[in-house]
Structures are given as structure tokens and as C-alpha cells.
């Protein structure tokens, strides 16, 4: 079984180990609430963007509405808690299943058409859901929903302080990356990249394109819902904008694209760069920070589109050998 999985190159393995150690130690070294909050935000962004990456990066089916899965994942446990007092831990799988169902409903018709229809459909559906949820009293309308204020048990996932959340999020991030890594090595991963490159050629080689895209979307939606549910239980509160808002979707795209869409660690790297930057912008500009966020995102989109469609990961892959050669020469 071990031999079935390709081992990453040794240099890469060392970087992965160092990164893992750094992420495990981070909240212990930076015990200040401010830094722990950045850490949790980073993990959440990395999970979301990595989830998006499966269908948006590897398969090249650019969803700009992944907030619908994130929001569904966030709302479902809080709604089941509000209505019937369900513990959030029990509500999370329900949200994930609902997201998979929604993914199939969206993928079935749009994956028959070209990729642009899928992108547009995802934006439209996510916005419709956001508007609809904002007017529906049962799910809290524009105000939103709240989770348990006091934990009745650990299954309420309501903890004091960020530390438990940090490690739960870290474990989920590890899960998402591990699943992505395994799939990347298998036929499924090859098929996704083939589909991204040329659907026509892929089909001519017997690749079941529509089914493969649907599976990728369902998996991606499941992980995005998981990210949303983590956000919901951690914040203990969810409203239409923070669950289904367009910014939630756009962030996933930008983080992944900046780091490198369709690479295992690209989304994580994107989040590693952008989350601290965003926090800094919020601190410097105060309430106007979210405006600054949009400006930064806009700038990043332009830069990626113009200069580095492969993202930073691709840039690094091309630059690293050159730098190494110079280091040797020196």
C-alpha cells in the first residue's frame, strides 16, 4: 500500500515537516489572543481555499459561488440547534450532506455546458440563496442564527478560548490536504487535470468527464461545508453575509489563485500571505479595512491574470532551480 503512494521529493518532504511543526507550535509560542485569532482565521481560509481547489484548481471548473456550500455548512448546525436543540456536532454532517446534494443539483445541468456557464450559475445560485436566507424568518432573516452560548458537553463544540478550535481546524486542514494528496496521485487526479486541459481530448480517451467533474464538485462542496460549519460553531453566530456573501466565495478563489490553483499547497500559501495582510489592513485602516481588502484583492487578480497565471507556486517552481544554481556558483 505504501508503495502505491508516491513519496514527495525529499526537499519537499522536509519543507512539509517544518510547516507542520510550525503550525502545531504556533499557538503555543504566540499565546496572545490576537495572534491566535490570526492563526484560526488562517486555518479556516486555508481549509476553504483547499476545498475550492479540488474543483476550481485541479479540474479547472471555476466556481465563484462556493459560499453556498460554506453557508449551508455554517447554517445547518446552528439552525438544528435553534429549532430542536441538536448539538452542533450532530448538525455538521447534515450540513455536509445538504451541500453535496446542492452540488449535484448545480453540477448536473451546468456540467453539460461549457465552463463559463458553471461559473455564472454558481454566482447566481449563491446570491439567490443569500438574498432568500436574508428574508426567511425561520433561519433568522437578516439577523442570522446563534449557536449554544454555554456548552452542554464537548459535542456542542463550544469552547472558551481559541486553542481547541485551532487544533480542530488544523486537523481538518490536514485531512483536506491528505485527501487531496491521495486523489492527486490516483486516476481521479489525472482525470481532473486532463479535463482542465482539454475536455474534448479527455473524452476521446474514455474519461467520464461529466461524472468526474460532479465527483470533484461534490467533494469540494463537502469540504467547503465543513469549513463553514467550523466557522459557525467557532463564532457561535452566522448571518447571510458571513455565510453566503460573495466575499466568502471570492476569497477562496483569490487565496488559491495567488498561491497556485491546482497545486496541493497553493491555497495554503495564498492564505499564509493574505490573512496576515488582511489583518494588518483591518488594523491600520480600522473600519475602512474591508474596503482596503477589496482593493488588495482587485490588485492581486490583475497581477495574477497579467503576470503569473500559475500563481506563486508555479513562479517558485520555475525560479527555485535558477536560484539554486546561482547559490552554487557563488
Amino acid at each position: 500500500m505504501r508503495k502505491l503512494l508516491a513519496q514527495p521529493a525529499s526537499g519537499q518532504r522536509v519543507s512539509i515537516c517544518l510547516l507542520a511543526i510550525a503550525l502545531v507550535l504556533y499557538p503555543l509560542v504566540f499565546s496572545d489572543a490576537f495572534y491566535r485569532d490570526i492563526g484560526v482565521t488562517f486555518l479556516l481560509a486555508a481549509i476553504s481555499a483547499s476545498a475550492w481547489n479540488i474543483v476550481g484548481g485541479y479540474a479547472g471548473q471555476v466556481s465563484v459561488g462556493h459560499s453556498m456550500f460554506f453557508g449551508l455548512g455554517a447554517y445547518t448546525p446552528l439552525l438544528l440547534y435553534t429549532l430542536w436543540g441538536w448539538p452542533p456536532l450532530a448538525g455538521i454532517p447534515v450540513g455536509i450532506l445538504l451541500s453535496i446534494g446542492l452540488a449535484i443539483i448545480i453540477g448536473l445541468p451546468t456540467f453539460r455546458l461549457s465552463g463559463h456557464y458553471f461559473s455564472m450559475a454558481t454566482i447566481a445560485v449563491a446570491e439567490l440563496i443569500r438574498i432568500f436566507v436574508g428574508t426567511w424568518a425561520l433561519v433568522g432573516g437578516a439577523i442570522g442564527l446563534q449557536g449554544p452560548a454555554l456548552a452542554r458537553g464537548w459535542w456542542d463544540l463550544t469552547f472558551r478560548g481559541d486553542l481547541p478550535y485551532y487544533y480542530i481546524f488544523l486537523a481538518v486542514l490536514a485531512l483536506v490536504l491528505a485527501v487531496t494528496f491521495v486523489l492527486e496521485q490516483r486516476r481521479f487526479g489525472y482525470y481532473l487535470r486532463a479535463i482542465k486541459s482539454s475536455e474534448r481530448a479527455a473524452r476521446s480517451l474514455g474519461v467520464p468527464v461529466r461524472r468526474t467533474k460532479l465527483q470533484a464538485l461534490a467533494l469540494s462542496a463537502a469540504f467547503a461545508a465543513m469549513a463553514g460549519s467550523l466557522y459557525g460553531v467557532k463564532t457561535g453566530f452566522i448571518d447571510p453575509d458571513s455565510g453566503f456573501g460573495i466575499l466568502v466565495s471570492v476569497q477562496m478563489v483569490i487565496f488559491a489563485a495567488l498561491g497556485g490553483a491546482g497545486t496541493l499547497f497553493g491555497p495554503l500559501i495564498g492564505a499564509l500571505i493574505l490573512v496576515p495582510l488582511q489583518t494588518a489592513a483591518n488594523t491600520w485602516f480600522g473600519g475602512g479595512g474591508s474596503g482596503a481588502t477589496f482593493v488588495i484583492y482587485g490588485g492581486i487578480i490583475v497581477l495574477i491574470a497579467r503576470f503569473e497565471p500559475g500563481g506563486l507556486f508555479d513562479l517558485w517552481r520555475r525560479l527555485a532551480p535558477l536560484l539554486r544554481r546561482r547559490a552554487h556558483a557563488a
Binding site: 496521485q185 489525472y190 482525470y191 487535470r193 486541459s197 473524452r203 476521446s204 480517451l205 474514455g206
Partner: protein
Amino acid sequence: MLLEARNVSKAFGDFRAVAGADIAVEQGEIVGLIGPNGAGKSTFFNCLAGDTLPTTGRILFDGVDVTRAPPEAHARAGIGRTFQVPTTFDDMSVLANVMVGAFLRRPHRNDAREHARRIVELTGLRADQPARSLGTPSRKRLEIARVLASGPRLLLLDESLAGLTPGELPEAIALVRRIHRMGVTIVIVEHIMEVIMTLTRRVLVFNQGRVIASGTPEQVVRDEAVIEAYLGRGARRPRE
């Protein structure tokens, strides 16, 4: 009969790119398909491969009606094809490209990789080269390797040898021969008469969407209708 297509047409609006074409190919043959540019050869291939739905006609593969089946079903049934304008997976290595084909009948990665390596070697490509860095003739060769790895019984080659220098031709011809000897039936579209003359014993001549002549290569190059199609009046259909 391995492949039998009867009265196949494909219309784009009012214009019939393929207009009642027939073909019948026996297991083990290499059949040449020639004809002037715009005759409808590639469109005919697209119909045979399930890439476009023909407007009329019926296509049987090994006795099974595949007329309306999608391209992936054609591939599974054993109809492989290359594209006139190569469509390699440019973000992937040569080996990974070929593995995508190999996965069709070898779902496990290591089996697929091993098979793909053998095919890459057979076709004289370099496994770890990025597909992006290949020139057009090499891309066409990669397409052959890729589809060959998918284990086709019938291979439709659409100008796969175009763009090669005269010096490179013998090796490419030898490759097609080797594929044929592996038991693959071949239909080959080619403009270079040397290729057709060396490889095929039966040629179909396409013009304005239908077969206007057939026979040995020597026979068809002397055929009046063929000479007329290539050189005579009305040979070049205006392209609007």
C-alpha cells in the same frame, strides 16, 4: 466488418460538410482516406468517434450501433482517434499524458504508469518532458502514444504525420506499421502520398463530403474523378 458507416451526413446550417459518406473497414486493415482540404475528412472522423452527432446515417462498430453514443463510450468500445490540431494536456508531462490514456483499461496507477512507459518508449518520446515544450510534430506523436495506451482496436489518425521533414518520415511510418502489427486496425488521413503509398493497400478518396473513388493507391491516383477533385474546376469550395 469492424467498422461500418452508412450514409453519414453532417450539416452545419445549410452546408453539408459530410454528405452521405460510407466506409467499411475489416479487422486488421490499414485504410487511407485522402481528399482536398475542406472535403470533410476530419468532420467524418468526428462523426465516427462520437465527437459530433451525425445529421443522418448509421455507424456500426463490431456490429454494435454507436451512432449516438458519446465519445467516451467510443473510446471504451475501442475506437481511438487523434486530432488534426493536436490537443495534448499541456500542463502535464509526456508520461502523465500517456497515463491518462492508459487508465482506461488499467485503473491502478502503477499498472497504468508501467504500460505508459512502454508506450512512450515505443514512440520514441521522452517521458519526463513537459508536453508544453513539444513542437507540433511531437505533439502529434504524443497523441498517438496517448490513444495507443488506451488500447484501441481501431485507430483514426488525422494527419498525424503532417509537419514531419522527409528525413523524419520513415521513422513515423515505421511506428504506424508497428502499431498495426500490434493488431490495431487503422484509418489514416494523410496528404503526403508517400505515406499513403507505403502504408495502405486500400484508399478512399473524399470530396465534398462523400467518397468519390476507392481502390489501391495506384488506382486512385490515376482516377479521372480524383484528378478532377484535386485539380479541376470546383475543386476548391469557397470557404464561407
